[in-house]
């Protein structure tokens, strides 16, 4: 086994008998120990992992394989409820949810025989995009330990990028799957709102949250999506949601590059993106997005109000257990009024229409995933193109758009900067057309492989 093997490669190794689930799990446990400086994991139980792997091997030897992913290790962000591992949201203000329960996605993966490997480090309660606020300390970027991973699913991204596990789970409210995936040089996917079950994934903001997979290839992302999609009686937003059905895309994808005030990016990221777009350029147009600050305010209003509402009980009983920054976010949400929230929801309605118009008859919208590469630990501000913004804001810079409009979004690595830090490209598809977005991304990925260095 090589570090960084994809799920697909590990599937083949299991099928042809060159590896057992037990030996794959043993390697992943060793890699986790070798890379302990990443601080990617909050809970990892060797005995539990090996017990699951042994059971998978027994099924295989009895011709009882449950699925392609039977016996493969998958790491889980610490805001997914898991029956075996405790769920802490990486906060000293501990979740009030029942223990001993699996989130729907975990339940689906376990039925398919996946090995639930470990729980991963995250930004406290997912309320932040840097992974620098966590009860177990910061997560470090595998490409350079002095840089952040981005967040809030930073531990999941670090574990996959370092090759410890072939795939991991994250959740995304303003980019929390895509941001660390981009900063660590892997693939990450946020489904359309209402297609993937959120049951058992601790909420940050009910109407913005989406669970999603992170992996080393688009094919691996697609392999995992059936375990996220479809109706779940325990999450009413998925009522009548379609199951995942693979889609073929033929021809040259038609892309819209979004630009405008508030969508600036560093020159190095910009030139890499332009180089990428030139390779696929026959069908690329540019469109401007106006009033970004109002739309951003709408996203922030909804986020803060919903998070404060969800945390109201913990805030009244354990306020001192939240980190200072997270508590300040939650207190801000309490001060916003119902009228302001409804105005934000009106603006959100306009934004959904606007994004649909910008997409027009194109296949997807394109932006860099981040305006900068992974920042250095302890640097609170980022400067690019006459902008000076907090590191936190630079992380969500482009990503919140997809959550406010509920669109399916994918980040793919398209190269790296002069310091070897990854640059990611984000694609946003039409609402509900997640399969088409994956199919388009597969086409573009062929080009991406040419510019990756």
């Amino acid at each position: 086994m090589q570090k960084g093997d994809t799920l697909m490669e590990q599937c083949v190794a299991l099928e042809n008998g060159s590896m057992s689930a037990y030996s794959l799990a043993k390697h992943s446990i060793k890699f986790a120990s070798d890379y302990s400086r990443l601080n990617a994991f909050v809970s990892l139980d060797e005995e539990y992992i090996l017990q699951q792997a042994k059971a998978a091997d027994e099924r295989r030897s009895n011709n009882g394989v449950l699925s392609k992913i039977d016996g493969l290790c998958i790491a889980v962000k610490d805001n997914y409820l898991t029956e075996f591992y405790p769920t802490t949201a990486c906060s000293h203000a501990r979740p009030l949810e029942p223990t001993g329960v699996d989130a729907t996605v975990i339940e689906n993966l376990k039925k398919a025989g996946a090995v639930i490997f470990a729980k991963t480090n995250m930004h406290e309660w997912a309320f932040g995009a840097t992974n620098t606020t966590s009860s177990i300390g910061v997560t470090n970027n595998p490409h350079n330990l002095s840089h952040i991973t981005g967040g809030s699913s930073g531990g999941s991204a670090a574990a996959v990028a370092a090759g410890i596990v072939p795939a991991a789970l994250g959740s995304d409210t303003g980019g929390s799957v895509r941001i660390p995936a981009s900063a660590c040089g892997i693939y990450g996917f946020k489904p359309s709102y209402g297609r993937a079950s959120r049951f058992g994934v601790l909420p940050l903001s009910w109407s913005l949250d989406a669970p999603g997979p992170m992996a080393n290839s688009i094919e691996d992302i697609e392999l995992l999506l059936p375990y996220f999609f479809g109706e779940d009686k325990r999450d009413k937003s998925t009522l009548n949601a379609k199951k995942y059905q693979s889609h073929n895309f033929v021809g040259e994808p038609k892309l819209v590059n979004l630009i405008g005030e508030g969508l600036e990016r560093s020159s190095e990221v910009n030139s890499r993106v332009l180089e990428f777009l030139e390779l696929v350029s026959a069908n690329v147009s540019e469109k401007k997005l106006p009033n970004i600050s109002s739309y951003f305010a709408a996203w922030e209003t909804i986020l803060h109000c919903e998070a404060s509402s969800y945390h109201s009980k913990l805030l009244s009983t354990q306020a001192n257990d939240f980190s200072e920054v997270t508590r300040a976010h939650l207190e801000a949400g309490k001060d916003l009024t119902a009228v302001e929230l409804l105005k934000a929801q009106k603006i959100r309605n306009q934004f959904i229409t606007l994004m649909d118009q910008k997409l027009g008859d194109a296949d997807c919208l394109v932006l860099p995933t981040l305006p900068v590469t992974a920042p250095i630990h302890g640097v609170d501000w980022q400067e690019f193109e006459n902008r000076k913004v907090t590191t936190q804001d630079s992380m969500t810079w482009f990503c919140w758009l997809g959550n406010l409009a509920g669109l399916p979004c994918l980040t793919m690595p398209i190269g790296s900067d002069r310091n070897g830090l990854p640059i990611g490209m984000m694609l946003m598809g039409r609402f509900g057309e997640d399969e088409k977005l994956i199919a388009v991304a597969k086409q573009l990925d062929k080009f991406a492989k040419k510019v990756r260095k």
Binding site: R195, S207, S237, N240, E340, K343, Q345, I347
Partner: protein, 51 residues
């Protein structure tokens, strides 16, 4: 249940800055009398999920 510590100066500054930014962004948006907010009613979600 423990008594909550009052917010310190840094936290107060963060709360103020967040609210100021949000309110200025909301104020700048043109919405009209008959615009409707996005709802999270099941009916709407059902419609959207089926599209």
């Amino acid at each position: 249940m423990t008594d909550s510590k009052p917010l310190n100066d840094d936290q107060k500054m963060r709360v103020e800055a967040t609210l100021k930014r949000i309110r200025s962004g909301l104020k700048a948006a043109a919405t009209f009398q008959f615009d409707e907010p996005v709802h999270v009613f099941i009916g709407e979600v059902k419609y959207r999920a089926k599209r």
